[in-house]
């Protein structure tokens, strides 16, 4: 049996899955004392089920997202080694920032050494500000971590009680500003995240559940809760990822669908293309800044069931803010939910009050209440369908760097629109009609997020880059660098090495039953020709475990792989 648990800002949802069927589910308010909510949720779904029956627990949470949004994280000292390139004035972060001399180039060659006097001065200054958390990030550090490690070692020697994060360990992909942001947030949220994991573990312990515990990442893959302590930012946006996986589990395999999650103040939109949730081509954007966190593509539109509706001159407009609950539920202002109530598209609220709200807007314009309601729903539908079309367009507009990629660009459109979340049902039919799709509200749509968590499986990638001229290789995801001693290092050997690392990662991520099918994402070899002679090769390969979920709910069968 699998438990899926989604800890949101307002509600904590839980489901118990047995052989692909939902055998129990619950929705309880998220309280300040997290442990109480967790225990309540467990007790609701575990009634009559022995703790030993549970094979695994997977969590998703908006906890880190909220921490960052509310800027409740700890202050961090930032040590940057950017070298030549972008002007150093561009590196502005809400942290005590020190920029050091020293530079590495794109092939990992040292252009300029680190200045040790500068290192000392920077650390002394950080110390004088009583900071004990430091993020050290160098440009091209994933190609050569020498400078980051020199600073790291120095801190370890002089101030062993400090918490240090180094860029190449946190994010190995190219893009220095995103690496800085990822490293900074990892450093800043780690301690607060430990509080969350401790609450979860003690809740489980007190109920005698001692199976493996995983947490969902933003890309829809799981990782052991233990492992996640090192990279808490990976769990940012695990909430939306859980909803999308939930929908994936609740609709037939292979479907192309739009997921519409309409909440109180925002609507989250996502795409499932031929059965696979679309990954964002750029890393997750947090607090207006890009990071290296691999995430499912989610578009948040600032409009929801509780958004304020106002009359401006002769127009009726929807504002992006929420002042309180809908008028029909005792709130101060008319909202889209009131419109739905008038059109009898929702069960929530008091019908008389909803009519009153529409009349407030319509009377000065001489429009009847039901017509005001129709206009409001049209506005909401229009905004959401416009964003959905944009998402498809953006997906088609993604850059391509190879001839075959340009030639295989496709244009596909969804056939279903799937609604989850509170206010979705009322708008869904019209959104679907505007997109020429079928509207679907799956069973258990209210707890789709917890179901998504329950069916998620690990997604693991390994990207290996080997430079045979210099005799070095690096593994992007592990921040590790090694030497190539084999003089005949080839593409095949690179593939073997990458797969070997994928095994190691699988072990670390609790994938004990083997890797399953290994997919090759990229396999490229560049001959390095210097003075008309091949001097070496750059080999770039990437492998991953197959993406997917454990169960499609209702079909009763597990997917072929575990």
């Amino acid at each position: 049996m699998y438990i899926g648990l989604d800890v949101g800002g307002t509600f904590t949802d839980a489901v118990l899955l047995e052989k692909g069927q939902v055998s129990a589910w619950t929705k309880v308010p998220t309280r300040r004392e997290l442990l109480t909510s967790l225990l309540e949720a467990f007790d609701n779904i575990m009634a009559g089920v022995g703790a030993e029956m549970v094979d695994r627990v997977v969590l998703s949470t908006t906890m880190i997202t909220n921490l960052i949004a509310e800027k409740k994280y700890d202050p961090v000292g930032l040590v940057l080694i950017p070298g030549p390139g972008l002007d150093h004035d561009c590196y502005k972060y809400s942290a005590e920032t020190h920029i050091l001399d020293g530079a590495i180039d794109y092939r990992g060659r040292e252009i300029a050494p680190l200045d040790h006097r500068q290192v000392e001065e920077a650390l002394a200054r950080i110390n004088s500000m009583k900071l004990k958390k430091v993020a050290v990030v160098g440009k091209f550090s994933s190609r050569n971590n020498k400078h980051e490690m020199e600073v790291f070692e120095k801190i370890r020697r002089d101030s062993p009680d400090w918490h240090v994060e180094v860029g190449h360990k946190v994010a190995g992909q190219l893009n220095y500003p995103r690496r800085i942001m990822s490293t900074l947030l990892t450093c800043a949220t780690r301690e607060k995240y430990q509080y969350f994991t401790r609450s979860v573990l003690s809740a489980l312990e007190s109920r005698g559940i001692n199976c493996p515990v995983y947490i969902l990442k933003a890309d829809g893959g799981t990782m052991p809760l233990e492992t996640s302590l090192a990279t808490p930012v990976e769990t940012i946006f695990s909430g939306p990822a859980a909803s999308i996986l939930g929908v994936q589990a609740l609709i037939p395999p292979g479907e192309t669908a739009v997921v519409v999650d309409i909440g109180g103040t925002t609507s989250d939109l996502a795409l499932i293309l031929s059965g696979q949730p679309l990954l964002s081509s750029k890393g997750a954007c947090i607090d207006g800044q890009m990071t290296h966190v691999r995430a499912l593509a989610v578009k948040s539109v600032p409009i929801g069931g509780d958004s304020v509706v106002e009359r401006v001159g002769k127009e009726i407009v929807i504002l992006t803010e929420r002042i309180g609950p809908p008028y029909c539920m005792g709130g101060p202002m008319p909202t889209p939910t009131d419109a739905l109530k008038v059109l009898r598209l929702t069960r929530l609220g008091d019908s008389r009050k909803a009519w009153e709200a529409m009349q407030m807007l319509g009377n000065p314009l001489g429009i009847e209440a039901w017509e005001v309601a129709a206009r409001i729903t049209m506005l909401v539908t229009g905004m959401i369908t416009c964003e959905i079309n944009n998402m498809f367009r953006n997906w088609e507009q993604e850059p391509a760097y190879r001839v075959w990629e340009v030639l295989q660009k496709r244009k596909i459109r969804p056939n279903t629109v799937v609604g989850v979340g509170g206010a979705a049902s009322g708008f869904l039919t019209q959104i679907a009609a505007a997109l020429d799709c079928y509207p679907v509200i799956p069973p258990y749509a209210r707890v789709a997020n917890a179901i998504g968590a329950a069916v998620a499986r690990p997604t693991l990638q390994v990207s290996l880059r080997a430079d045979t001229e210099q005799g070095i290789y690096s593994i992007q995801e592990e921040g590790c660098q090694g030497a190539i001693k084999d003089r005949h290092f080839s593409e095949e050997k690179a593939m073997d090495l990458a797969t070997e690392w994928l095994w190691r990662r699988a072990e670390k991520y609790g994938l004990k039953d083997g890797l399953g099918e290994v997919e090759v994402i990229r396999k490229e070899v560049y001959n390095m020709v210097r003075d008309w002679v091949t001097s070496g090769r750059l080999i770039d390969v990437a492998v991953q475990t197959r993406r997917g979920i454990l169960h499609y709910i209702g079909t009763g069968v597990a997917t072929s792989e575990k």
Partner: protein, 458 residues
């Protein structure tokens, strides 16, 4: 204009090469990608990245006579590189972006009007395809192409040699010392487009100082006079001090400042084969200069300005040349055209063109109709010797976009006569830019093809 972004299409063609060890191979833009990605430039609010699109066969046929057909001369990679320039052009004309950088390969500035094969690593002239597209689709009138590649942009020059509305300026290493061996100061354009071609051959070993002297004292004043509606920079990067094919001493900073001064609507990557020591830095700084991002911290790791010197004698030589060219430019309307080009119904010249990549020898006989009311149509007889088989003989007729009715009529007569005269030519081709129609006749198969472009955008 202020808040608009710089558009960039990055198409490194990581799966296309002329041959595995050729300079024009997969690896060429690999380090440029690494540098631009690591700097995070594409995330910046000043820059927006667009995906490449394919140009159409007709877009190519509008400018090139490909022998025997467009499909036999281009690969998909060429269609994508040219398509990238067109797609950025669309966004610029529509006002969606302020300027653009087509950071693409394969390059194009050595490709001439008639294409029998690859020369100077080029098959299709990306800039020329763009110019004709902009004129046809958006009614753009005057265009300037400024070529800052170390090699003379002979293809672009040849295509627009008789076109008074396209100003072509090329600064490059002296043709006596480098491929393609042309681009001297006396090459000034045909009788109908005198001084619309300006060549500045620089002695080997010149530095940024000369680069900017020429820009400030010749290129910018001429552009100010010409008042183009659209400026294109053929941004070759082989003037760099580390380039293996060129012998100049320009730096990434020099290129960035040149880009800032020129302020082109679009930069299109051309040559540049110092793929590690120059390209990552120059491409980055051109992109930054276009986007208005400070490039003062960009520098090559091995840069030692003390080693980059030029001799005062050579500099004086350049000063003299700049002065002479400026004189020619300023007196262009007073020049005695008849004295320079002769008189009669046609201006004609013989050309010998060598395709260094494909080892083809082409002989051309070019005629331009002297016409008082339009730039006149062009007739080219071309024979290409590939060293095997019978040489292919072609008749090509090109009608300019603003041709008079008389010229249009005469040109069609040339085409029909060429078809009838079936012993002489294997292929007869016609471009009618005034109606955007391309015709092509294959003698051996007795087959004619016709393509028409979409109507202009209103």
């Amino acid at each position: 204009m202020k808040n608009k972004k710089t558009g960039v299409i990055f198409f490194p063609a990581f799966d296309w090469a002329i041959s595995p060890t050729h300079p024009e191979r997969e690896e060429r833009l690999l380090y440029t990608r690494d540098q631009i990605f690591e700097e995070g430039l594409l995330d910046m609010t000043e820059i927006e990245e667009f995906p490449p699109k394919l140009a159409t066969i007709h877009d190519i046929a509008r400018i090139h006579f490909c022998i025997p057909r467009v499909q036999s001369q281009v690969t998909e990679a060429h269609m994508i590189a040219a398509g990238a320039a067109l797609s950025l052009g669309d966004s610029i004309i529509r006002g969606e972006i302020k300027n653009g950088f087509a950071l693409v390969r394969p390059p194009g500035h050595h490709a001439m009007r008639v294409v029998h094969g690859n020369r100077g690593f080029c098959n299709i002239n990306n800039e020329a395809v763009l110019v004709e597209y902009l004129r046809r689709r958006y009614g753009i009138k005057r265009v300037a192409v400024v070529d800052s590649d170390v090699h003379h942009g002979d293809g672009t020059q040849e295509i627009f040699y008789h076109d008074p509305d396209v100003l072509f300026i090329s600064l490059h290493q002296d043709g006596r010392t480098i491929f393609p061996g042309t681009g001297f100061t006396h090459e000034l354009g045909g009788p109908g487009a005198y001084a619309r071609t300006i060549n500045i051959p620089l002695p080997p070993g010149m530095t940024d100082r000369t680069f900017h002297y020429v820009a400030d004292n010749l290129v910018l004043p001429i552009l100010k006079d010409f008042k183009p509606d659209f400026i294109i920079n053929s941004a070759g990067q082989d003037n760099h001090y580390t380039d293996p094919l060129g012998n100049m001493k320009f730096t990434a900073r020099g290129y960035a400042e040149f880009t800032r001064k020129l302020n082109p609507h679009m930069a299109v990557l051309e040559g540049g084969y110092a793929i590690e020591t120059a390209l990552p830095y120059i491409n980055m700084s051109i992109l930054m200069a276009l986007a208005g991002i400070s490039y003062k911290n960009v520098r090559e790791p091995d840069l030692n300005s003390a080693n980059l010197n030029e001799t005062p004698e050579k500099f004086a030589q350049v000063q003299k040349m700049v002065e002479d060219l400026l004189n020619i430019w300023e007196r262009r309307d007073k020049a005695d055209i008849e004295k320079i080009f002769g008189s009669g119904k046609y201006y004609q010249r013989k050309k010998h063109i060598y395709y260094d990549t494909d080892y083809i020898e082409e002989e051309q006989f070019e005629k331009v109709r002297f016409c008082g009311s339009c730039p006149g149509y062009i007739v080219i007889e071309s024979t290409a010797n590939k060293g095997y088989g019978d040489p292919a003989s072609v008749l090509c007729i090109s009608i300019p976009i603003d041709a008079c009715q008389n010229c249009q009529g005469e040109a069609y007569m040339w085409y029909e006569q060429g078809m009838r005269d079936n012993k002489q030519y294997n292929f007869v081709k016609l471009q009618d830019k005034s109606t955007d129609t391309c015709l092509s006749y294959d003698r051996n198969n007795r087959q004619e093809w016709k393509s028409e472009g979409p109507g202009p955008e209103v």
